[in-house]
């Protein structure tokens, strides 16, 4: 490759063509337009919008967030504008050429399918991401993504409801992520995204109370990055589905680690709060890396982790 030639950063994620592998994560990027003052949305691969339910919902009472070592805990819950307001009010203000992935969740499987159907009518949406980290009302509040049978039923039902590219976002709060990935593959998902926030708890010793009103929260940020990297690597060995890597990504180097561990693309989450333009800088940083190493296509990095022969298990 000649020095002047720009490397090819395009990737195909589960049937969604992306100009580069850097997306932003659901719940950390609003409905996109909030970032317009800071970042040209066309510079990044695309964004995943806040998870949507059928009807608008309020979230949890405050406090909803708390800081943790190198991370934060959140318990926002289901707060969102609802699928109709998203389509009628939020999507139309997104500039042409911006790849939008819609995330959806509900507390029952039929609800997920209904949201998926509604979103599938909308050509402006490039693909769907099913957030499987929501507590399932019927199975006593455990996350959909924590039980392989419930997860299978969820993916099957959403798959029936849409022919659009379908990503399933997995919960890290499981013993065997490979098993969950295989369930998604078997039920016809086009790709998987991982990880969602890691379940956590913070306590105020003075008041003897949990810091969050919801008691439990989800840990995100750099603190979870090694966990996320491990899970992406394990999932990539369990399935051939494309993987979108998420968890604590704040720099181009972080993103590249995920690609090396088998992710086709990545999502930047909590880091958007610290620097609303960070996703664009990660794109630039990846291009620099490719040039520096003389790599022609970013896709050449996917799964290129080199494990010395004597360390292979």
């Amino acid at each position: 490759m000649s020095a002047s030639q720009a490397p090819d950063t395009r990737v195909d994620l589960a049937g969604i063509p992306l100009r580069n592998p850097v997306l932003t994560a659901s719940g950390t990027f609003g409905y996109g337009s909030e970032f317009a003052p800071f970042l040209d949305l066309r510079r990044i691969g695309g964004f995943v919008a806040k998870s949507l339910t059928l009807k608008p919902r309020f979230g949890n009472p405050p406090p909803r967030i708390s800081e943790a070592p190198s991370g934060m805990l959140n318990a926002i819950s289901l707060e969102n504008v609802g699928v109709d307001a998203f389509i009628d009010e939020k999507l139309p203000v997104i500039p042409d050429g911006v790849t939008v992935i819609a995330s959806l969740f509900e507390t029952e499987i039929a609800g997920y399918a209904a949201v998926a159907e509604r979103l599938s009518e909308e050509p402006r949406i490039a693909g769907l991401e099913v957030n499987a980290s929501c507590p399932h009302v019927k199975s006593g509040g455990i996350e959909f993504g924590q039980n392989p049978k419930v997860l299978a039923e969820l993916v099957r039902s959403v798959r029936r409801a849409t022919s659009r590219p379908l990503l399933v976002k997995l919960s890290p709060n499981v013993t065997d992520i490979g098993e969950m990935a295989r369930v998604c593959e078997a039920e016809g998902a086009d790709g998987i995204s991982l990880i969602n926030a890691v379940q956590g708890l913070e306590v105020d010793p003075e008041t003897r109370r949990p810091v969050l009103s919801n008691v439990l929260g989800g840990l995100s940020g750099p603190a979870i990055r090694p966990i996320a990297l491990r899970m992406v690597w394990q999932a990539s060995r369990a399935v051939t589905l494309p993987i979108c890597g998420i968890g604590g990504i704040a720099t181009a180097a972080d993103a590249i680690k995920f690609l090396l561990c088998g992710a086709t693309a990545v999502q930047v989450g909590t880091a958007n709060y610290l620097d609303p333009a960070v996703a664009g800088e990660i794109v630039d940083g990846i291009e620099d890396y490719l040039k520096r190493h003389g790599i022609e296509r970013v896709s050449d990095l996917v799964g290129a982790l080199e494990i010395p022969p004597d360390r292979r298990s």
Partner: protein, 271 residues
């Protein structure tokens, strides 16, 4: 006038000095600054964006824009802050010439009082920083009274600046080390005992704001409060700063506020 579009940049520290007690004054050269409205805030992280990413503490800290004056390719933006934990502790250590990542100005601004309507500004602790610019702008077309409260003299911020504005200024400290001994809410009660129209603006600890809202309501005077919830992003995307509304549901303090009409707020639901 619409609030200016926020920017995200590395500000350069011009000055960072003690103001007595745990309070500090930070002056930042912010190139590209497009102005701000009274009551707006910025998110600050000690350290530059280009540094090795600092991750503990991770989140930026919301700080009111105290005031700003045009300088160079932007403005010198002034922040008054109290060292109260890890984030503000790190901010206390940044030296002139070093960089601080800044996003802002964020939030809405205070609606100025109508001409002829008396404005009573009540502020406690770090809330004092949120009302200086309001006092400075409101005094042009109306009579302004500023009531500042803190635990002790050392906790009061910016007193000389308010004095030089030429507004009517009264102080209260819990230990009597400055102004009257007692709570600033007592000063508000006395002010409102006088007849006539007045609009009350409050920023400070939640119990103080709630009490001011009650006092104003009892006198039938409109009251605006500026809330200081914990924030992660400051621009409406994390949904972390929710404040419960009297009518049900939540508002985002960073986007819909930080100021609200006091009767909009469901006080019992605030942390």
């Amino acid at each position: 006038m619409a609030d200016p579009v926020p920017i995200r940049t590395d500000a350069v520290v011009v000055e960072n000095r003690s103001e007595g007690g745990a309070n500090r004054r930070l002056r930042l050269q912010v190139d590209g600054w497009r102005g701000f409205g009274p009551g707006q805030f910025v998110m600050l992280s000690p350290g530059s964006r280009a540094d090795v990413v600092r991750s503990d503490p991770l989140l930026p800290r919301p700080m009111a824009v105290y005031r700003a004056a045009p300088a160079g390719a932007g403005a010198v933006v002034e922040i008054l802050f109290k060292v109260s934990g890890r984030g503000t502790g790190l901010l206390a250590d940044v030296l002139p010439g070093q960089r601080v990542a800044l996003v802002g100005p964020l939030g809405r601004s205070f609606d100025l009082p109508e001409s002829g309507e008396r404005a009573i500004l009540v502020a406690g602790g770090t809330g004092i920083a949120s009302v200086y610019e309001l006092a400075a702008r409101a005094r042009a077309n109306t009579e302004v009274s500023v009531l500042l409260g803190a635990r002790t003299r050392d906790d009061l911020m910016g007193v000389e600046d308010f004095e030089s504005l030429g507004v009517a200024l009264r102080l209260a400290t819990e230990d009597g080390s400055a102004g009257e001994q007692g709570l600033v809410t007592a000063l508000l009660e006395a002010e409102l005992a006088v007849d006539g129209t007045a609009r009350v603006y409050v920023c400070g600890p939640t119990p103080m704001m709630r009490r001011c809202a009650e006092i104003s309501a009892a006198r039938g005077r409109p009251c605006v409060v500026s809330l200081e919830n914990t924030m992660a992003c400051g621009f409406g995307v994390c949904l972390g700063c929710a404040a419960p509304l009297a009518t049900g549901g939540y508002a985002l303090v960073c986007r819909d506020g930080p100021m609200f009409d006091a009767e909009q707020v469901a006080w019992e639901g605030l942390p």
